[in-house]
Symmetry: C2
DNA sequence: CACGTTGTCGACAACGTTGTCATAAGCAAA
DNA sequence: TTTGCTTATGACAACGTTGTCGACAACGTG
């Protein structure tokens, strides 16, 4: 396992003064060259660039940012719930690309849905003077961000709106997506449609459930409250809830999963019960292998690309114009019809 | 979509001088309080903390870092290939948690496997004076990192070793994992085992292929070169290659996929050919829904947790002791036996 | 040639913080 | 009271950079 020793010759990084000395000019001239300021003779510029090359000089952009006019650090902070979740990682990837195109870097952190971790991350980000924040809010109150915003660090909320604060926001069309799912199942003949969701305190969960309720309410029978299970925070809980729901009499003939974590638990439960081919199922959030499942999983897919781009766009827009009116973008979702949503309610199941 | 206007009262962030004035002390005293330095009367400390609270002061840690003894910024840079890939996002998540526990933040970037993007990201990171780098190397030469290292920014390579440079490294046991996969298939009676892999220039791809070759070479028949397809960079390419491989005469009876992107393409191909239940298949890298596929996908799973923790551990260790010998950690992989690897070579297929 | 204008460049202050040092205040020992 | 030591505090330099300004040379114009 052990391989080799180092040589331990750590020299401090060269500064513009080192470069200046080497090039035989004043250090301010080096600064001018590095910032493409005018009024430097091309001969001088050459000398400076040569010295930069020789010394392997690299600007210390944090020192630079404390002095610059606008104090911008060309970095933004991103707080997601769990970076290991595919939705979050896709979002992050997109925001990163958007930022990098504008030579901004991204500091990322996962809140795990814990308010104090969210605040801790935001605090660290602000302490490092990020130029802006993109936050998937976890806590019940984001008013603490007002202070940051007033000091010039704008915030954009993604996936869920922040609470007790006005800010730019990008959300998915949660309720509509779930309504679509319900209607899709109804068309296949289903009336007894179960719903598994996260805690109601989570905005998206509440929205999605309300979409479910609204769609179900439009049907003749109305909803059976026993078919609704919320507060499911991880796959095992969803697994358990699914087992319980399908033990009911009469059992549901179809199932809607409120997010991808729940989907995993629920499909495992269907698998365990031997019901995967008999129970119709629609999941919120697409998953990498969803179309390879048998039956292929019908999903309500979020447009992560549009969400990420939208958030980044709002943030960079605000960086340029702090006084623009706040905007809220609602990104449409898309029902991807595969097989699991088309499983019909078998005759003996139908009322 | 438009919602509301802002009030546009952006005040500059308070500094320790503002706090000092408010508390009626010298600004150095504020600094002392904030850094928990000794020799401050508790009464004075109270006054300062009260002023901090009232003004909502937050330390400017970038200004602080340019002055501090060691110039540390308490941030590290992480370059992965594609953050949207589940392996990369899991890795990132783990490294982040490790870093945050030590109050370090993580700057992340995706190289997309492009050497110049890797260099660009590394450059930006170093320019922001990260304390260390964790890199999944993309290019064919990481010797440029020697300059950074000599200036005190240590590097740890993950997933693949850096080229033309000595540094701490964490890799998976690629060859061994694929060998295990081959043997598992052989036990099920297979001899005609196809292999789909990425470009040979990618270290992991080369390692995995060599594991395949070594295992196949141990068999009586030896390898049929036509069964090996490399250079597959995305799912569509893998899809195509799989179609071609299974059009051969005699067709392989089993398949090994060199990474998760290839797996997706290949399983789609098997699906298209109606061979998912007949062809044995083992994939490198576990996938979220792999156990819910039918047949459930047998995989060689990497221990992302150990890889991430190992990398972070090496990096933070090096931050404390620059002169320790370089280490290389090889993390074991694990063959997760599910169904697809146990599909037997049917009698008419067997030679 | 005198003059103003422009281009080039360096000296110096400043950003917000920490490091160094001097000094004042407090207090025990002489 | 004086001495000596410790504790508390502020004045100031310094980090590496950019902003401001003035010095000076080169230039064009009358």
């Amino acid at each position: 396992m052990v391989q080799d020793g180092t040589e331990d010759r750590v020299t401090r990084a060269p500064t513009i003064k080192d470069v200046a000395e080497r090039a035989g000019v004043g250090f301010k001239t080096v600064s001018r060259v590095l910032n493409d300021e005018p009024n430097v003779r091309s001969g001088t510029r050459e000398k400076v660039l040569a010295a930069v090359e020789e010394l392997g000089y690299r600007r210390n952009s944090i020192a630079s940012s404390i002095r610059r006019r606008n104090q911008r650090t060309a970095s933004i902070g991103l707080v997601v719930e769990d970076l290991a979740n595919p939705f979050a990682s896709t979002l992050t990837r997109i925001i990163q690309d958007y930022a990098l195109e504008r030579s901004h870097l991204v500091l990322v952190g996962s809140s795990d849905g814990e308010p104090e971790r969210e605040r801790e991350l935001v605090g660290e980000f602000c302490s490092r003077r990020v130029d802006g924040l993109i936050v998937v809010p976890a806590g019940a109150d984001q008013s603490y961000l007002e202070a940051e915003r007033d000091r010039g660090i704008p915030v954009v909320f993604v996936d869920r709106p922040g609470k007790h604060i006005k800010a730019d926001t990008v959300v998915s069309e949660n309720a509509g997506g779930i309504s679509d799912a319900v209607h899709h199942l109804v068309e296949a003949g289903h009336r007894r449609i179960a719903y598994l969701g996260d805690r109601q305190a989570v905005y998206t969960a509440a929205q999605r459930l309300s979409g479910y309720r609204a769609a179900i309410a439009g049907l003749d029978g109305g909803a059976d409250r026993r078919y609704i299970r919320t507060g499911l925070r991880d796959s095992p809980q969803a697994y358990q809830a699914a087992l319980e729901v399908f033990a009911l009499e009469p059992a549901p003939t179809a199932l809607i999963c409120g997010n991808n974590i729940i989907t995993i638990g629920a499909v495992h439960a269907l698998q365990h019960l031997g019901l995967r081919d008999r129970i119709a199922c629609i999941a919120f959030d697409d998953l990498e292998l969803a179309d390879l499942l048998r039956p292929a999983l019908t999903v309500v897919a979020q447009d992560s690309e549009a969400i990420g781009t939208g958030a980044a766009h709002l943030l960079f827009g605000r960086l340029e114009d702090q006084s623009a009116p706040y905007r809220r973008i609602t990104v449409p979702v898309r029902l991807i019809e595969r097989e699991s949503g088309k499983i019909p309610a078998s005759d003996h199941q139908r009322r």
